[in-house]
Symmetry: C2
Subunit: 114 residues, 2 copies
Amino acid sequence: MTESTNIFKALSDKNRLRILKMLQIKPLCVCEITDVLQLAASTVSQHLSILKKEGFILEDRDGKWVNYLINQRPGDQRVSAIMSQLDFWLGDSQLIESDKQKVKVVDRFKVCGI
Amino acid sequence: MTESTNIFKALSDKNRLRILKMLQIKPLCVCEITDVLQLAASTVSQHLSILKKEGFILEDRDGKWVNYLINQRPGDQRVSAIMSQLDFWLGDSQLIESDKQKVKVVDRFKVCGI
DNA sequence: CTTATATTTCGGTCATCAACGAAATGAAAT
DNA sequence: ATTTCATTTCGTTGATGACCGAAATATAAG
């Protein structure tokens, strides 16, 4: 009996919304996201697993890295609806802007393995 | 410093979604909602206050009753967007259908003051 | 094969939230 | 004014969730 998950619950966490916005810039690996959000890698991994389970993102292993990226063809129409207008749902905050800047310059060879 | 509330958080609770669906049938007072959801009146009151704060619903006092109803002109565009297609966001479950039936026959003069 | 790095899983802590009953408030009826 | 009923507010409890560090896993490099 697959309990139908509430799609809003996956989006009720601010850091998960931040991750979605970051991935709209470009695919990122866990440690890059960790560096921007300043959270433990295990925490970020948990958030990513929730977003993946709901169909918002996909993972793509590349050697020892796992890249996460926006799912361009989600099975759930509601997911497409939200992702196509994420700015509308989110509103642009100072924090999101700051994340964007960091994502643009983040370099996994510098921030990983610290 | 009005902390911008996450609109998804207000919708992340199943019982609050049930309430919104019920109010789409007709305005209801607290004890009617209490009767359908089978929750304590204080709990229902709390849910209603959250939905009201986010602009989903309005209250309209009528003597000793307080009727709650869908806000037809929400200030927040996201609220209108969700409410105009609530079925799309929610999906129709067995539980929601059952709530609808109960709402149609509920009578405040019978269920209140028990 | 061993080491190093990236990630996930696990176990635990702390904060948040839904739920309740009791007490307080609001509004009518007696 | 007092009682009655609907609702809200308050204080508490139990469940859920975000977070962390440590241990386990996966992959690449030496």
